[in-house]
């Protein structure tokens, strides 16, 4: 069974006070997330990531389509007892202390009274806030609130967690900790669905990613498969300062630094370039494939739509 099944979910907002203009935040989206995977939901600002998560949480209602989570309808309380949600820029009742807030959320999620305080303490330690459980949330910094947000999402041991930009507002240590936490969750057999625009995080963590732009799904799959389709480049370095004319003709930039030359060329012309160097008796120092990262794929996927959007406005 898929943990999340999105069947043509779609959302149009009506913006403007007087004459309402429809604004399409999410075009019909089809997506399935398997149980036990870490799934990254990528897209630039305003792509529709948060909108998708809000639709899945039942906070806003779709214009069309439907979705099932853990095989149940979106508004099913039995399903909601088994999921956790971290909203973007989370904000909580600031008159409560962190411990009181988590106790309250534990009550709402149906955590049994006798395990509740143990779970609260455990989760506070897990997100790196063991000492501030008794401090009122109005005295928390942004990153601390983000950690409380993560704590409340995993407090009740959910089978599936949704994180909207879990790394935002965290220091480098915090980012590392959250990454480790997501990996632990996966080891525990949980499913993690998170949105981000930090591609290196996605690349390091995700089993699969989906890329969305302007409310439209642009690609979905394993990171390795997606990046394989992007044409790679190679970097050649040789001794001397000479650049053979034949190599120059292949296209690509050459940089002369001291007594070596460095050239970056499309992967396809690698052999031709090496032949050209041999003919000139230049000593090759290295041939290194320039790793095609998710970033290249991402940028490539956004381009056509960027052109379309430019034409429209």
């Amino acid at each position: 069974m898929a943990a999340i099944e999105i069947l043509g979910l779609e959302k149009t907002y009506n913006v403007g006070f007087w004459r309402k203009k429809p604004k399409c935040a999410l075009r019909p989206l089809h997506l399935a997330v398997e149980e036990g995977e870490i799934f990254g939901f990528l897209g630039p600002n305003g792509a529709g990531k948060t909108t998708t998560l809000k639709l899945l949480m039942g906070l806003v209602y779709p214009t069309g389509g439907s979705a099932r989570i853990l095989g149940m309808e979106i508004n099913d309380p039995r399903m909601k007892a088994q999921i956790g949600f971290l909203p973007e820029q989370p904000y909580f009742y600031d008159y409560l202390t962190a411990r009181e807030l988590l106790e309250y959320y534990g009550q709402l999620s149906g955590v049994a009274a006798k395990e509740r305080s143990r779970k609260v303490e455990a989760v506070l330690a897990r997100v790196g806030l063991p000492d501030v459980g008794g401090v009122q949330l109005r005295k928390f910094s942004k990153g601390m609130l983000q950690r409380v947000g993560i704590a409340q999402a995993i407090l009740h041991d959910p089978r599936l967690v949704f994180f909207d930009e879990p790394m935002s507002g965290l220091d480098p240590m915090g980012r590392r900790e959250v990454r480790d936490l997501m990996e632990q969750l996966k080891l525990e057999g949980k499913t993690v669905f998170f949105s981000t625009h930090i591609l290196s995080d996605a690349e390091a963590l995700c089993d699969r990613v989906a890329i969305i732009h302007l409310g439209e799904l642009r690609g979905v799959g394993r990171v390795a498969d997606l990046t394989a389709s992007v044409h790679g480049k190679v970097e050649l370095v040789w001794e001397g300062t000479a650049v053979p004319a034949a190599l120059r003709a292949l296209g690509g930039e050459c940089h002369v630094t001291g007594d070596t030359v460095r050239a970056v060329l499309p992967e396809a012309s690698q052999d031709a370039a090496i032949d050209a160097l041999r003919r000139e008796h230049l000593r090759l120092v290295s041939v290194i494939p320039v790793r095609t990262s998710l970033e290249d794929y991402f940028v490539q996927k956004l381009q056509p739509a960027g052109a379309v959007a430019g034409a429209r406005s």
């Binding site: 906070l59 007892a81 949600f85 009550q107 709402l108 409340q152």
Partner: protein, 258 residues
Amino acid sequence: MNGRIVHIASNTFREAVRDRVLYNLIAFALLMSGAAILIGQISINIERLVVINLGLTAVSLFGIVIAIFIGIGLVSKEIEKRTLYTVLSRPVRRWEFIVGKFFGLACTLVVNTVFMAIGVFGALLYVSHHFQTADGWVLVALYFIILQFLIITSLALLFSSFSSPLLAAVFAFSLFVIGTFAEDLRGFAALTQGFTRWLATGAAYIVPNFSALNVISSVAHQQPVAGQLIFYNTCYALIYTAMALCGAVLIFEHRNLK
């Protein structure tokens, strides 16, 4: 009552207490003791009348102000600050949230009224040195005041579910004022003719009937309250409150959160 509603209600109560809502009790205590001392000095045999009239009116006004000002923010503030996201993504239904919020504020108001009532009885004891059996009717008047709070709270919730907090406060307060004259309104409606009569009668019966719930001056004159009126008012207030809450729930159920 289901557990989640209880938890939401007690959290709402806790919020009110921590936001120092009950500080109004200090103002109330000062008012009552000042009034008692003053009345004790000047009046000739009408101390009880004045203390009961003044005390109960103050209880009612303090409570109404709290009911409106907290009531309009109960749900709209949670939407605005997005504290609702992490509540509604749990196994909490939207109607449970509204009902829990309502009961939380209702509890706050009852506790508040109990303390203010103690103040009123204290002042009564100060000016007349003993209680009379007729003073028991003051309790009935207080009960009716609490019924008014329930109605106003549910109306504040209803209005804030579709308009801005400021407008909701204006609506709720206007209805309180109009409702105080509900019986006069019904009288006027009966005098008009034709279509206007339909309209006026409809309007007169839609506004909450606070005049029937106001027995302050008759109690101050030591007149008893009919058992029938107690029964009728209880039913009326509960049904009116339930309908306003249903309206608030219906609107909230279909609402997209910000």
